[in-house]
């Protein structure tokens, strides 16, 4: 039986990953100057840090739960990013994108089986 706290770990991990993606987007939009300055601005570094943290948590969860469960749970990050992009970046998430995300989640479940 999968312990509920590993499920919660994945929810938290994907949430953090989504926040990281948000920072990456914010950082990339605001960056100017030469390429190196653009890659290394603060928001982008924070974004990668959160992404790394999310990956680390997922790797820990993988030690306890089978990949056929973890894999589809990582696709929860697409839901988080859709919510965050809508709320914080003002991006419109139409039915086409929502269907796309649902298909991706289904696809991930099938791939992990």
């Amino acid at each position: 039986m999968i312990e509920w706290y590993f499920m919660l770990m994945m929810v938290v991990a994907t949430f953090i990953g989504g926040i990281g993606a948000l920072f990456l987007k914010k950082g990339s939009s605001e960056a100017n100057g030469n390429l190196l300055q653009q890659i290394l601005n603060t928001k982008i570094l924070i974004g990668f840090f959160f992404y790394g943290l999310a990956s680390a948590i997922s790797l820990v969860a993988l030690k306890f739960v089978d990949v056929s469960i973890i894999y589809p749970m990582t696709s929860m990050s697409y839901i988080w990013v859709a919510i965050f992009s809508n709320k914080f970046l003002g991006e419109r998430i139409g039915n086409i994108k929502i269907t796309g995300i649902l298909l991706i989640i289904v696809g991930a479940i099938l791939l992990a089986a």
Partner: protein, 132 residues
Amino acid sequence: MAAKKSNKQSGLMQRLALPIVVVSTLFTAFGQYFIKKGLNQAQIALLPDILNLLNSSFVFGFALYGIGAVLLIIALKYKKLSVVYPIYALGFIWVALLGLFLLGESLSPTNWAGVVVVVMGVSLIGVGDKHD
């Protein structure tokens, strides 16, 4: 004159951005593969063994990962996050194919169905980009 040129450039980048993301997902997937390979090769027992990580697979993997990251940042300048991010689902497919061709893993019909469904989903995201 300068404004005209930069409009043309950013118009080109608009069209290149999503293909760049696809390429980025490839770099990321291969990067993860080599990092894992390097970690397995390093066999760290004691702290000094961390130097073993400087073997070529691990460093190469990190370099690939870095290139993938740079491409992601570039693409994010031109496209919405809600479009760019889901395209990384292609990583699921690359990892499966890498397992198939490099690690001798097999893919069941269900897995292949998953590949098709993920491609469909990512394509819809691309369509949704133009639509929203």
